[in-house]
Amino acid sequence: MNKSIVKVEHLSHRYSVQWAVSDISFEIPCKGIYGLLGSNGAGKSTVMNILCGVLKQTQGNAFINGINTKENTIEAKKFIGFLPQKPPLYNDLTVEEYLSYTAELRHMPDNEIAAAVGEVLELCAISHFRKRLVKNLSGGYQQRVGIAQAIIHKPQLVVFDEPTNGLDPNQIIEIRELIRGIAKERTVILSTHILSEVQAICDHILMIEQGKLVFSGTVEEFDNYIVPNTIYVSLADAPSVDVLSQVEGITQVEELGGPNFRIHFTDVDLAMDRLVEQSAVNHWKMVEIRLEKSSLDTIFAELSKKK
């Protein structure tokens, strides 16, 4: 039987009196990039901290590679690499010393540490900074050092908590590229509240709102979460709005300027068929016709309301 790399069962966590996470269950069976999406304070970091053994959950269970993090925390942590929201750096050490220390903490054999440090320095493109003090690096490079410590022991699961937070656009692109590279060999979970980031790098989305899991599925499923109710059509030789409104299955027509229209319908198949048909018969010279999808922002807002 194949074990899931992550399995969470009825996970709940409370800070004093307030529940940060409430009865969350999900499973991550295979490699890929999983985006943990949610607004600020939704409970993403709490879930990540619990998975990585930084926090002990109030209720429920989390399994890493089949190992219960509550019962066998140390064994479970062997499969994890974690980059918290604020990189856990020691500013007074050089990059090389810091990475060697993180490798030692992950029980890497002494004779393999130097090679592993060299490898991650290369992978994260920070080889030229190996002798520099961590505190003298820019934010973007500190983030890379944080990523390097998370993958130095080649864990099966890498957890990144808002890895592109506070970086400039170029650094964001570089970090995303780096994460894509990491995900080729292992499972990556990353938390973010930036929708474009999810669309850019994630394969799957888990959305948490107010401590509850409100969505779990692929990015495509997320895109299609709200059933489209409009058709975008472009006609080179367009008739009047009134003529278009009389096509069977169409309830309303909006002019978008030029030859472009937004069509509201009762039945999508019927409306599309009739539009194509009428366009051919009446020589409206159809240039484009497509179902209009809801924007990610709209879906996010819709899911945020869901409890």
């Binding site: 053994g53 930084v54 942590k77 918290p84 050490l93 030692e104």
Partner: protein, 243 residues
């Protein structure tokens, strides 16, 4: 065990990257140097004046005609140094977020604390190395040096330093503010010193407060006695704050 040693090694390295560790070592060396040279000077003067110095080992390290010896004086000002050293041991990790690296690594909390404590014990050994310079000077120069007595006192000072350090680490783990940790450690030291004078009219309370009081606990060692009660006291207090 290996990971504890590695944590200790790295903590010690980071401790010496900060000026505080060097500054405290320097202050400790100067302060103890002045005390020892004054005591030694008075002995030399006695020897010149009377032809020999009475009870030289005891005068230098325990107590004598010239007042308190080195061990007793070290014992009385040691608590100024320790909170400044231990204040950042855990609170710095808590405030910088690097504690998450330790928590997410496959090591237990006990190993983390043991590593940090071992680092402090190494530092205590450096302090003891400074003291041992005076010990060696005295051993080489004083005739019929009472080494067993003086070494027992040396052990007492070391154990007291280790006890102060575990209290400092305990306080440091309670807050992310280093200054609060330092002040808290001072307060605990003060409380543990003052507790010996509380409720002395009640036999039971007197017994308990006497046992809890850290003041003069190493005096028995300095007097040259190895009492099982005091030998147990230090590990028990260390274990108590550990938990």
């Amino acid at each position: 065990m290996k990971v504890i040693y590695k944590i200790a090694k790295r903590e010690l390295q980071m401790l010496f990257y900060s000026p505080i560790a060097w500054l405290l070592l320097l202050c400790f060396a100067i302060q103890t140097g002045i005390i020892f040279s004054e005591l030694f000077g008075s002995l030399v003067r006695d020897a010149n004046e009377y032809g020999h110095a009475w009870r030289a080992s005891k005068t230098l390290f325990a107590f004598g005609d010239q007042g308190e010896g080195l061990w007793i004086q070290v014992q009385s000002f040691l608590y100024f140094y320790i909170p400044l050293l231990t204040m950042g041991m855990v609170s710095k990790d808590l405030s910088s977020g690097s504690i998450k690296l330790l928590y997410s690594s496959p090591i237990s909390s006990l190993q983390i604390i043991l590593g940090k404590y071992l680092c402090m014990v190494f530092y205590a050994l450096i302090l003891m190395a400074i003291l041992s310079i005076y010990l060696i000077i005295a051993w080489c120069t004083v005739e019929n040096f009472e080494e067993a007595w003086i070494l027992t006192g040396f052990l007492g000072v070391f154990l007291q330093t280790c006890t102060y350090m575990v209290i400092g680490i305990f306080m440091s783990s309670l807050t992310s503010y280093q200054i609060i940790a330092a002040v808290g450690t001072f307060l605990i030291f003060m409380l543990m010193s003052m507790v010996g004078g509380m409720g002395q009219q009640y036999d039971l309370v007197r017994d308990i407060t006497y046992w809890l009081c850290i003041n003069g606990r190493s005096s028995t060692f300095i007097q040259g006695m190895l009492c099982s009660e005091d030998l147990i006291y230090f590990p028990v207090v260390i274990a108590m704050f550990w938990h």
